[in-house]
Point group: C2
Chain length 304, copies 2
């Protein structure tokens, strides 16, 4: 691809990412209004975690994939907000002292550091419920069949057969030497399931039959793993300031990662291969898939 085309795609991706960060902040700002009663701290904790931080990768994926099927932007944003609510709840619980015990997240104190552990547990639980409240609201989609399917797929992607199950595998794996296929399986649940849902949800809104979803699932699975490898490389490189969180903690915890198994060079090659595979899945699409292509191409070049 000529250099000027690459540059333009990059600029467009950055502009879209910036716009979505603003829109998701605005959505949470609207949904998380404190009630001026005994729940003030709960709403403050939810706002602290949900507003003004993060790459908003999952909503960006949902908006980008929604372009393929002509889905209205405000719908894609509400679904993206629901996914982000799940992602943020999992970060709050993950950061707890009994889990990863982290003090800093997205360059700010973690929720339990600011509001205490009990409020952090409840803020996570509240964002968890909020995600399903958003999806089941007729404002998200007028077709109840679509709403119900969005809920069912998100519950599966975030529950014991998805994200939460992957987190448990991760805990169980501490100090064990996993091979590449075990790490891949773990990460496909822990981070992959929700990323896959971010692309699956537009397929549900576009009422694609199950068999027509295969290429988009393939795209999502490939970039999910590529992003995880990029994350592992950042953690390995250990620039805490750029990452906005503590780095080097996987090695410290004795956790097997793509980088510890493959080494940084082969891990990077693997990420590039996965990105090319992801883009390959979009071969039937024209310019409407450019944002998804740019996302795949540039997201592994980030340093945080």
């Amino acid at each position: 691809m000529p250099v000027e085309t690459v540059d333009r795609a990059r600029l467009e991706l950055d502009a879209e990412a910036e716009r979505i960060r603003g829109e998701i902040d605005e959505l949470f700002g609207r949904l998380l209004v404190s009630r001026n009663d005994g729940r003030d701290d709960l709403y403050a904790a939810m706002r602290h975690a949900a507003i003004g931080g993060g790459k908003r990768l999952r909503p960006l994926l949902t908006v980008a994939a929604s372009r393929l099927f002509g889905i209205a932007r405000d719908r894609a944003l509400r679904v993206g907000g629901a996914i982000e609510a799940i992602h943020v709840y999992s970060l709050i619980h993950d950061d707890l002292p009994c889990m990863d015990d982290d003090d800093v997240r997205r360059g700010k104190p973690t929720v339990h550091k600011m509001f205490g552990e009990a409020a952090a547990v409840l803020a996570g639980d509240s964002l968890h419920a909020l995600a399903f409240e958003i999806l089941a609201d007729p404002e998200t989609h007028e077709d109840p069949f679509v709403r119900s399917d969005l809920v069912l797929a998100l519950a599966k992607a975030s529950g014991p057969s998805g994200m939460a199950g992957g987190q448990m595998m991760d805990l169980a794996a501490e100090g064990k030497s996993l091979d590449l296929s075990a790490i891949t399986r773990l990460q496909q649940l822990k981070t992959g399931a929700l990323i896959e849902y971010a692309v699956e949800a537009p397929c549900i809104m576009g009422r694609l039959p199950s068999e027509a979803r295969t290429p988009y699932r393939g795209y999502a699975r490939n970039i999910g793993l590529a992003f995880q490898i990029a994350d592992d490389l950042i953690d390995h490189a250990g620039d805490a300031d750029a990452a906005g969180k503590r780095t080097g903690k996987d090695a410290e915890a004795g956790k097997a990662t793509f980088v510890s198994v493959l080494g940084p060079e082969r891990a990077e090659q693997q990420a590039r291969f996965l990105v090319s595979q992801a883009i390959e899945h979009l071969a039937d699409h024209g310019a409407e898939a450019d944002l998804l292509r740019a996302l795949a191409r540039f997201a592994i070049e980030r340093n945080h």
Copy 2:
């Protein structure tokens, strides 16, 4: 009411409660099958908390209210199972050291005592997701509008504007002297919202318009408060063996309860008044409401 009628109603309620305990255990047994991978402990923790314990009051309410609208028992049971999954997740998180720090629940060690705190957080999160997975599954109801409405109402009842919000109010209230109306408001969110949902869900399945739901909401609100007063009386009486959990902890934590504000005698009177009000709301119904009436009458006579 003649003594023999009271006795028969009591026997019928006990038989139905016993049957539902078996059916809910069977449902969770089917849904929570361990995968023989790194998630074994997660499923074991979920099963430990969800199977073989508890009064199953909420599923019992859902089944009893479903009789009013001719809703099939297997549907009522699945919805009751979803509510119970939310209830159990909230108990697991509530028992954590950073929350109420309890070692015993339903006469067994709490989840974090058996499986560790991290697994307890994840087991709660997993049951939370499972509740919505059950409701959005076409097996629960063939009408997607009903499924979507069941999800929306449960998300509201369990999230920051319902149960989780009430739990936060409860934390914020420690050591403060609440008046009767503040305690009522707190308990209406903390325990009342989910009990109300247990009766609202059959109204949704019966496709009752909103205005026709008023008496059932009234019934649920009255018995929700009556049950809470009964709980406070048990905690106050302090028989830990009968309660299956630590008692006297409200006084210990300096928490205002119905009993601390009203005193045990007036609290009991108030509970009886609420029960009579609850039954009054069912005046338009015949024998099909007998189970709901018996539930209201006898549930405050339990000692655990």
